[in-house]
Subunit: 431 residues, 3 copies
Amino acid sequence: MSIGNEIHDLARDLWGFDRSLTGDGVRKTLKTIKEHLPSLKVYEVPSGMQVFDWIVPKEWRVSAAWIITPDGKKICDFKSNNLHLVGYSTPVNAKLSLTELQNHLYSLPEQPTAIPYITSYYKERWGFCLSQIERDHLIEGEYQILIDSELFDGSLTYGEVVLPGVSEKEVFLSTYVCHPSMANNELSGPTVTTFIVKWLQNLPSRKYTYRIVFIPETIGSITYLSQNLEHLQKNVIAGFNVSCIGDDRAYSYMPSRKGNTLSDKVALHVLKEIDQNFIRYNWSDRGSDERQYCAPLVDLPIAGILRSKWLAYEEYHTSLDDLVRVVTPSGLEGGYNALKKALEAVEHHCYPVITVLCEPQLGKRDLYPSISTKNKHKDTVLMTNILTWSDGTNSLLDIAALCSVPVWKTYPVIDTLVENGLLHLRDNATC
Amino acid sequence: MSIGNEIHDLARDLWGFDRSLTGDGVRKTLKTIKEHLPSLKVYEVPSGMQVFDWIVPKEWRVSAAWIITPDGKKICDFKSNNLHLVGYSTPVNAKLSLTELQNHLYSLPEQPTAIPYITSYYKERWGFCLSQIERDHLIEGEYQILIDSELFDGSLTYGEVVLPGVSEKEVFLSTYVCHPSMANNELSGPTVTTFIVKWLQNLPSRKYTYRIVFIPETIGSITYLSQNLEHLQKNVIAGFNVSCIGDDRAYSYMPSRKGNTLSDKVALHVLKEIDQNFIRYNWSDRGSDERQYCAPLVDLPIAGILRSKWLAYEEYHTSLDDLVRVVTPSGLEGGYNALKKALEAVEHHCYPVITVLCEPQLGKRDLYPSISTKNKHKDTVLMTNILTWSDGTNSLLDIAALCSVPVWKTYPVIDTLVENGLLHLRDNATC
Amino acid sequence: MSIGNEIHDLARDLWGFDRSLTGDGVRKTLKTIKEHLPSLKVYEVPSGMQVFDWIVPKEWRVSAAWIITPDGKKICDFKSNNLHLVGYSTPVNAKLSLTELQNHLYSLPEQPTAIPYITSYYKERWGFCLSQIERDHLIEGEYQILIDSELFDGSLTYGEVVLPGVSEKEVFLSTYVCHPSMANNELSGPTVTTFIVKWLQNLPSRKYTYRIVFIPETIGSITYLSQNLEHLQKNVIAGFNVSCIGDDRAYSYMPSRKGNTLSDKVALHVLKEIDQNFIRYNWSDRGSDERQYCAPLVDLPIAGILRSKWLAYEEYHTSLDDLVRVVTPSGLEGGYNALKKALEAVEHHCYPVITVLCEPQLGKRDLYPSISTKNKHKDTVLMTNILTWSDGTNSLLDIAALCSVPVWKTYPVIDTLVENGLLHLRDNATC
């Protein structure tokens, strides 16, 4: 089975859980992921804790939610689609006229078949979401409303995996597990990340330590940063926020706020090589957890490698963002491969330095033709170009760009040159 | 009455004075300006004083100057138009043939109706200026010439206003008062500057100290610099040379020599926002007192905000540069407003720094909608964009550019964020 | 006689010598050059010496080499054209069938009239080169082969001239003398260099010391660097590798590896002024001794000023690269003049600093018109533009570019300004 199908299967396993900022939907999601990643640790942070400018919210639990129409039909049933209920709705048990009810209904006139995704985390409120078509058919009369929910002092839940490497320096991945049943803007992130971690943990060796978190968006990343900022600022050399990485319609790059970190350079290099038409966003297009990781004074080196970005596809934040038409096995596999190539480029990041003065004599090492003609030796052009730029000021990514090749084409050449004692690889640039 | 008309009225008041590098024309001009700006101080610098590579010239006084033609007509009468006499002409009382006289006449064949503006400050010489049409009609015969002038050890006169601010750091404005009856390349400068000072002195508070000088061009700025260079280099953070700022045909930018001072950044920002078609000159187009303020090793941060620049309009340095067809109330008002917006941008110049880590929770301060939908909250986009760039490395001008808005649109948002304790404003960039 | 004809005559004198990496062809070439440059010193470096990653090769001596065809004709006679023998061919005395012989023949199907230039310096091998046309006419039968050659412990030969200057800082020129009878990619280099040295040694004074070497390519420059690297890195401020500088079809620029040395700036400036259509190569097009001089960690400031570059003209490395159709007197003269102008620009390299604050009063020095009109004084524009940029941060090359003139137009103005005490010239930029 292709890796894309494996990831898609996991997404289908996670589809029905009632995720929100907090609660058992998140816990069930993490439990399923832990079946793939036994080293995943789950953390609970109590409601009410101050996290920078925010407070960890109450936990939300929903037992049932529905509307009975005047003609006795049950609609907007939370059990049939968890998007029907506005996120963090307060409990209600009431009878309302259609006019009164309308104040609590949300639909999208411009997308009449879609159930919108609406939340009200930080102001107490209740409401139902439904398609415009369904809403247009509501008749006058008395509606019975039930929201059997609770908002209580519980906790916010997140998961973390740490894979040690040779170096204490870290590569950081973050993805979120707080949206209910949506595919590209939710499940593509944690599922692709899960399979990236499976690949990372099976590597024969890792240069860097890898830290991966599965968190609720915004409040989760703020909470995580409030507990780990100093450690992350000291150790993280690169990383990616993983979201919207499962459809097959585009590749996209979201820069870090500063735009010139190693993560940015790697993402741009990989995406240019994979898809010349990739979309290059600006920081003004930000919208996911890069807002926290790259906030001023936080400024971790975190960029985004995405397929169709939030807001850039019409199914975004509606029931149409599904695992059938939007997120596909090939879409997930493309995202997985792009992210994997980026992480490989981070692993290989170095500043090569030549060990001999003047050109090395490649011929005596059988790395160069012994006869000189006027025709260029194409086989050795890449090798000599890599050598000539290996002065300790150029990173391997710089060198690949100077040689006009994807960085992964340099890996075997670098290996050969290191084996022949012609290069050593530095972690930092010389001045 | 519009500010443009008020400025134009002052220009008409100053029109007839016989200004030159030195003398009573300058003194009368400054006296009239002092009626608007009582805090103006007038300084006299004696002839013969060494000022850097130059010497303050003798003072020039003209009682009368004219030519009587062979047929008894008085022409080139200094009293009818002070452009008729070559500036700094030595005294003459003689009878000359037309041929002899021609060596002392100046006209512009390509602008036959214009009286040119000619001076000979640093070599003793005499001459008359007249229109080419008038010159072409001169008949053979004896001409009687009178120039009742004096060149004597007197002084060079200039005016200065200093408006104290909270900071000792200064904003510097310079304009000149040494050209006789011409409008754009003379009177627009001191009149717009006078009304800018009236605005500045009525501000409820000033962050910076403002120093404004009304001086003769070149020798005046050299004299002023020779007396104040150390102080200016220590304190001036921005400033503008004000000239050619009264017609309605263009907006123009003259860079400082270095081209990247705060004044340059402010001028470029304001002019881009005011008039997309503004003309951007180079340092090779310099011609006014920026030559002195930005001379190598002087290098004060002085740029120019102009309307039609010297040499760039055909009436320049002729009797056609007048207050009717060239300089208009609306032209003056446009120049006044551009300069005012630039000074406001200097006053607001700062490096904002956010006070919280990660995004602030705007909702709890009623600065953000409490319900989350897929539609962007346009009202809050500018606020969050300002916050995200407020890392202490970006000036407010940088931030405005990053947010694609005129800097003056940021002022109320900055006020709100400072009031809510989310920003503090630094004078200098953090590293 | 034009300088181009003089250089061309020298090239014809050197044409017939059997040059290779080592041997008497090199020695005869240097001896002829020494007749023009008596201060040339000739050095011998013994075979077997370790030079960085390389070993000085054995010396190669050829007494005779030819093939007798089955029908008794002598072909591929080394005496008739030294390109017929593969460079460094081992001795052979044998009879071979045509099939056996074919393994040792080299020709160019796409250039059927050309004898290719082939070498095998670092692997023992023998072979003959001939035109494709001649090869196609070879008949079946027995061929008698003679190569009366020796490979023995001798030495590698090179020549050096040092012309002392006021400063110990050096300008370095390198050209090579290791190719047999070819014109642009060999003789244009040492002949133009010889006449450049003749010009340099006749200069009334030299600011810099000039060091010029005539060496075999690659192993020669590596050998020279291994003996002189520390001295060169300490003293050389600019220099050029001189090769392919004799045809009349193009001007070309080969950058140093870093691309921003004084040599690069000078070469770009001169070539832009001489020929707007000059070809600008990249470091990836390198191929001559710049590979050694600019190797990582060596990084001397050496660029290339060329006419048609190696590989960029079809006659390259064949018998068609001759002194008739390819290299011409006018081609050599153009190359000579470009290199001379570049060296003059290096000699004049300085950072001018104005000696007075504010504009100097040029009028009192008779450097400025005494009467002021609205017309620009074209004569003085260059002078005032040079003065305004003379702040100690701009080199004379920078100033020429800022003034949009060839740097050589500034030399007389600079002289005038220095004589008038208005400029002093610094060796280094002020900060």
